[in-house]
């Protein structure tokens, strides 16, 4: 009897261990490993089916004029992420169609789009203006994505079709950096603006464009929406700027261009200057300077420490006052 009890206990422990092992394993698979058995596939399938329901219900078809795209509702008050090229310009009428075929009205807000130094920017924001209780999806974190990680795409390929709910695709991340996610979740026209989810059902990207190959499906990383939220949500509000273009210095923010008539020129900044301090904050690179300017308000007056004429000693930096511009 004791033996049996011990045996049962042993089996139970074994089962528990196996269960734990499996849970850890499935997280490993979602994080980028390949499944190895039908049991793994069934566990993946269960998860995909679980996150699919909310993913589909939060995905909307978007119509702006004659243009059709997709989007995803991210807040109870009706903010909808989409691609920049779906937005067009601010304050246009938008018709949203939900998975069940019901519709709501809204407007376009801001977009960040265009090409700059080979990088394509394509984020856009919409808002549902009708009253309603919207199903939303949660924003994830796109900074920690890795090649091989599993993901799920929804959207309206070829535009909204009555009787067809948002279309699900499952794939893996092939490239991920701060500007771009590429996956093998196949996309086509009409998917633009639709969401890419991780296996927790959180949004990690927004569909943007495709290449000729079936594994060239590009998404805007969701962190770009977070970072530019103010600009997207308030397209008419003036944005802070200096009027300079940065170089590649490793000791601060060096200036490759100072635009004529800009706040930077008025403050006396010159091409070749290296900004090493902004209101007491050390500037290690141009990226940091850009971040601090984005956080400032037009007409703020800031103090800069600048190395000029090849000077490298921070003690010999000159001090300038600069009034942040607005555009």
């Amino acid at each position: 009897m004791l033996f049996v009890r011990r045996f049962v206990l042993f089996v139970l422990l074994l089962l528990l261990a196996a269960g734990r092992g499996q849970a850890a394993e499935i997280e490993q698979i979602f994080a980028g490993a390949a499944p190895e058995s039908v049991a793994d596939l069934k566990t993946m399938q269960k998860r995909v089916q679980r996150i699919t329901k909310n993913a589909i219900e939060a995905t909307v078809a978007v119509q702006v004029g004659n243009a059709h795209g997709s989007g995803v509702v991210v807040s109870k008050d009706g903010y909808v992420l989409t691609a920049g090229h779906v937005v067009g310009r601010p304050n246009l009428d938008v018709l949203f169609t939900f998975a069940d075929g019901s519709t709501a009205r809204g407007i376009t807000l801001g977009r960040i789009s265009g090409q700059d130094l080979g990088v394509i920017r394509d984020s856009g924001l919409l808002k549902i203006t009708d009253k309603g209780d919207w199903v939303t999806a949660e924003l994830g974190d796109s900074s920690k994505l890795r090649p091989g990680q599993w993901c799920l795409a929804t959207g309206h390929p070829n535009g909204y079709m009555s009787g067809r709910r948002p279309v699900v695709r499952v794939g893996r991340i092939l490239v991920a950096n701060s500007m771009l996610i590429a996956t093998d979740c196949t996309l086509v026209g009409g998917d633009s603006g639709g969401p890419l989810f991780d296996m927790d059902g959180k949004i990690i990207g927004i569909h943007s464009r495709i290449g000729e190959e079936l594994n060239q499906n590009m998404h805007v990383p969701v962190n770009r929406f977070r970072r530019n939220w103010e600009q997207l949500a308030h397209p008419n509000r003036k944005r802070p700027f200096l009027g300079v273009r940065g170089g590649l210095s490793k000791i601060g923010a060096d200036l490759a261009e100072v635009h004529e008539g800009s706040p930077a020129e008025r403050a006396g900044l010159q091409v070749g200057d290296i900004i090493i301090e902004f209101n007491g904050v050390t500037i290690p690179s141009f990226g940091k300077l850009a971040e601090l300017v984005r956080g400032a308000k037009p007409n703020d007056v800031v103090t800069l420490h600048v190395l000029r004429g090849g000077e490298t000693d921070p003690a010999k930096a000159i001090e300038l006052q600069l009034k942040i511009g607005g555009k």
């Binding site: 190895e36 039908v38 699900v168």
Partner: protein, 353 residues
Amino acid sequence: MIRKRPHLLWLLASMVLLLGAVALPAHAQKNAHERNHASVKAAFRDVVAQTHKSVVIVYSDGNPIAMGAIVRKDGHILTKGSELHGDLECLLYDSRRLPAKLVGYQKKNDLALLKIDAQNLLPVTWAKKDTPVGSWLTTPGLTKDPLAIGVASVKPRTIRPQSGVLGIQFDPLEIGSRIDAVFPGSGAQKAGLRVNDIIREANGKAIENIVREVEGREVHSRVSLKEIIGGYQPGERVHLVIERGQQELRVTATLGWLSSLMQSDSHANMDITLGGPLSERRAGFEKVLQHDTILRPRDCGGPIVNLDGETVGINIARAGRTSSFAIPASVVQAVLPDLLSGKLPPPDGFLEE
């Protein structure tokens, strides 16, 4: 939403740049991370261990053109009808290659029934339950590894039929059915139709020139040809009798898609130009289960199975960059008795080229 062609080209051009900068250094690694990599497919081996024995490759005049699903152990095989022409054979998983006879065809779902002379084959096991969206779906081939994998994308739905296009133009000011233009890439061009050919017959019906009076003026039209062809879908064949100089020729042309003949900026056009080839017959189905498996047109016609190895449908079309279609098991099972009993014989001349 990307609509304008120049805009699209611009995007593509800039994307090549991006890819060059971002993806290429990781190229060797990238393949290993794809969903369709062999390491992922290997996990599906147990799923197809039995079902690959129920699959055949259908050959047409010596070329592989479709897959097929064994539905009776006496050698009855379902496949995609519109791909069939000429002399048919089936290649089995055990390497036997046997002549096949077309014994039935249902146009509504493009399902054809073949018969080979064989015994004790392993028929597919039909799934009894519906397939939830997000389910893994496996397309078995003849080997121990699956041919392709994907997931169910949408609940089954009806796909409306489209009208097929021959790809010729008549002179609107002229009486009669003389061809005035042949569109490049059209079924008409592939069938060898030429400008100045006169079409006399289509599918056994004479083409008549119809003269109507509209507001006191005579208006000529070739309505009867349009009526005959309009009843057929892209991917279906029409048999024409044409007059070329002193000769009378018989020609078979496959109807195509209007969208593929036009430099249009439509979404349908993106589907055609970006991604692999599509099945010609990819519309007009009573019900399809859409999935995201990447198939070639010749990979259609065979079974698609769930993780329990049960057949949930018959792959019927590569439909677009993001989609493949399968006829659900319930629809196939409803039509199968009529195909087996001879109630749905193939139309005369169905396999003619």
